[in-house]
């Protein structure tokens, strides 16, 4: 019974998708493949940002609505460092460090003082996101900033079968996203701190009772989560662009990815990010004025049938 129903789901969802893919390949194979690549690379960026969000949420039940602001902060800091030093790696490091430091400060100065008050913590992150967004607007103005990709990725990749040329920077995001996912998985599953974090996700009280310094684990997690947002910011500063309002966009993306994928699960974030990235780019390519509706539809369907997300565990 359960197996046949699972099959039914695969056919009901996969069937139309396969039919669409065949139709799109037959009519315009280049558009389809380029859109596919765009979707996957955008998904990689979403994954990097949303994995930090889901990590913090899973452990601390803290919906960090300032996550988008940390993303933008990392992007701006990376942009400045890249402009001053003309090197790319220091820019990435600075972006990560800036976001991680702000995240750490938030955890140590504010969230530690209100343990267990999820709702109040979320309100605080809302207030912080308003303040940070306005400070960034004050400092950097409303114009669009765009960062140059590193020199060795600046030239498009030519001579690809079927699609011809494609931006090598964008293509590099795919292995980068996968690499970060693998690193995160190794960190969570193979290291001592990762073990503590997983234990904290399952039962915070028990972790504290067994003698672990929970505050330290929280601080490390928050720094990593915020650092991932900053990393995403530097990458996004090249791929997308930096302008006030991008913070909301990435916050929405993180929210949808985490809701669709399952809250607190890194693998779920990967699945959700891939789905959202593909849905957005295909929507923009094939039905421009209604592209958001697809995102929304996916959200509604997942919520209606799997309220805890595709890979979410029942509570």
């Amino acid at each position: 019974m359960a197996r046949s129903r699972k099959w039914l789901w695969w056919v009901a969802i996969g069937g139309p998708l396969v039919a669409f893919a065949i139709w799109a390949l037959a009519t315009n194979e280049r558009l389809f493949l380029v859109t596919l690549l765009n979707g996957l690379t955008l998904g990689a960026l979403y994954f990097i940002v949303a994995s930090g969000f889901t990590l913090v949420f899973g452990l601390m039940r803290n919906v960090n609505l300032a996550h988008g602001s940390l993303y933008l902060l990392g992007g701006y800091v990376g942009f400045i460092v890249a402009e001053r030093t003309e090197w790319w790696l220091p820019a990435v490091a600075a972006g990560i460090a800036a976001a991680a430091l702000v995240g750490l400060a938030m955890q140590v100065a504010i969230f530690r003082r209100m343990p267990g008050e999820d709702l109040r913590q979320t309100m605080v992150t809302i207030g912080l996101s308003i303040v940070i967004a306005d400070l960034l607007l004050w400092t950097f103005g409303a114009q669009v900033h765009q960062m140059d990709p590193p020199a060795w990725l600046a030239q498009p990749l030519r001579g690809l079968p079927l699609i011809g040329a494609y931006s090598s920077y964008r293509l590099s995001l795919l292995p980068l996203g996968i690499g970060i996912g693998v690193l995160l998985w190794l960190f969570l599953n193979r290291t001592r701190v990762g073990m503590m974090i997983r234990a904290g996700v399952d039962d915070r009280g028990m972790l504290a009772a067994s003698g672990v310094n929970v505050n330290l684990v929280f601080a490390i997690t928050f720094a990593i989560g915020a650092g991932l947002a900053g990393f995403g910011g530097v990458i996004g500063a090249v791929e997308l662009s930096m302008v006030p309002g991008e913070d909301t966009r990435l916050l929405l993306a993180s929210l949808v990815v985490v809701i669709v994928g399952g809250m607190g699960s890194v693998v779920g974030a990967a699945v959700g990010a891939a789905i959202l990235g593909l849905a957005e780019t295909f929507g923009l390519a094939y039905a421009p004025t209604y592209s958001v509706v697809f995102t929304f539809l996916i959200l509604v369907l997942v919520l209606a049938f799997r309220p805890r997300g595709i890979l979410g565990r029942p509570g």
Partner: protein, 392 residues
């Protein structure tokens, strides 16, 4: 309301129902009552209503109401329209959130979306500056239809978000709200994209232009009072009591046989009506509806207003709206106009960090301290304080 208070309210409610059920057998033993009895009963009910009214209406209520009624006559049109009417319209929308959050325990950021849907629908069904989109129906069809459809949308949003609990509700309603913002931004055939719909004005009725400051203020005041009293009434009704029970302990209410999901969705529907009415008024106030009206900052502003005032009492959102609008208009004198968000974000942070119950909480703390100081001087007052502090 604490669990003990809730239990007390529950018990007294049950007691009243039991008394009501018992009365016919006591008061009317056998045959139908004579006319005198009916008249006496009618008199009794009138006097009971009067007594209830006298019991609940305090001097401060009369003073506030009188001030609000006189306000447009003593204030300049700027204050009547920009400050007064805008605060009332925003307060109505924030009230719908405060009802959901304070009595249902569900913080929905999508209340501004419901209000925005109502605003868009009024513009689409009625008249606007874009005749290709607007259908031009008369207001008495357009406005009720807009409110009805927006309420249905609010109920659907609620139906989706009650599948999750607590902290998740914020995420999901925020996602829904932002998704609607992008839909309105990208769609030109219905929502007219970035431009939105301009020149959406209230009708001219009874030879009165309802957009001129004084009539519009009274219009907003009428609906604000109505919404305020309605929320107060619903909170005391069996439905409201059950909702507060669900907020405090859903599992126990479920075990008692209450439909938890049903009550929550119904709360969303009720809040949807209020938000839709507020949305129509706010759209009329602005004279236009754009994607910016339902953007993230607008969604969050409603939360800021509700939290600023306090969500424990229906007056909170209106207080919050007044402070918010005053800051919005006069922050320019204190700071740079561009830095309004910094000011409001800072105020919001300060309130959340230091007084989670908002301005009402500050007031209650102040009043408590004052009463405690007085109680120390006289033993009679101490008893009064001890009695008063148990009821909120």
């Amino acid at each position: 309301m604490s669990a003990a208070n809730w239990r007390k309210a529950m018990n007294s409610g049950a007691g009243r129902i039991a008394m009501g059920a018992a009365r016919p057998t006591v008061g009317f033993p056998t045959a139908p009552a004579s006319i005198d009895d009916v008249v006496a009963e009618g008199d009794a009910s009138v006097s009971r209503w009067l007594r209830l009214l006298l019991q609940h209406v305090r001097a401060r209520h009369v003073a506030v109401l009188a001030f609000l009624l006189v306000f447009p006559w003593i204030a300049s049109p700027f204050f009547t329209f920009q400050i007064g009417a805008q605060s009332l319209a925003l307060g109505i929308i924030a009230l719908s959130l405060a009802f959901l959050a304070g009595y249902g325990g569900m913080i929905s950021l999508a209340q501004m979306t419901v209000a925005g849907i109502a605003g868009y629908l009024v513009a689409i069904f009625g008249t606007s500056g874009t005749p290709e989109i607007s259908l031009g129906w008369p207001w008495w069809i357009a406005v009720p239809l807009a409110i009805a459809i927006a309420t249905v949308c609010g109920t659907l949003i609620g139906w989706l978000s009650v599948r999750t609990e607590g902290i998740y509700t914020i995420m999901i309603t925020l996602a829904i709200g932002v998704a609607f913002h992008y839909l309105a931004l990208q769609n030109y055939s219905v929502f007219n994209g970035f431009q939105g719909l301009q020149k959406v004005y209230p009708p001219v009725l009874l030879e009165l232009d309802w957009r001129s400051p004084m009539p519009f203020f009274y219009l907003c005041l009428f609906f604000a009072l109505g919404a305020y009293l309605l929320v107060k009434y619903v909170n005391r009704s069996p439905f409201g009591i059950a909702l507060q029970g669900i907020r405090d302990n859903p599992r126990r209410m479920n075990a008692l046989g209450f439909a938890v999901t049903g009550h929550r969705v119904a709360a969303y529907a009720f809040a949807g009506v209020i938000a839709a009415v507020g949305g129509v008024l706010f759209t009329w106030y602005n004279g236009l509806i754009t994607p910016g009206s339902v953007g993230t900052s607008s969604l969050i502003n409603i939360l800021v207003i509700a939290v600023l005032g306090g969500m424990r009492h229906p007056i909170g959102p209106f207080l919050g709206a007044i402070v918010f609008v005053l800051l919005q208009n006069f922050a320019i004198d204190l700071f740079d106009r561009e830095r309004f968000n910094l000011v409001i974000g800072g105020v919001f942070l300060a309130i959340v960090l230091f007084s989670p119950d908002g301005l009402i909480g500050l007031w209650a703390r102040f009043a408590n301290r004052f009463a405690a100081a007085r109680a120390q001087s006289s033993p009679v007052a101490r008893n009064a304080v001890a009695g008063g502090s148990s009821q909120r």
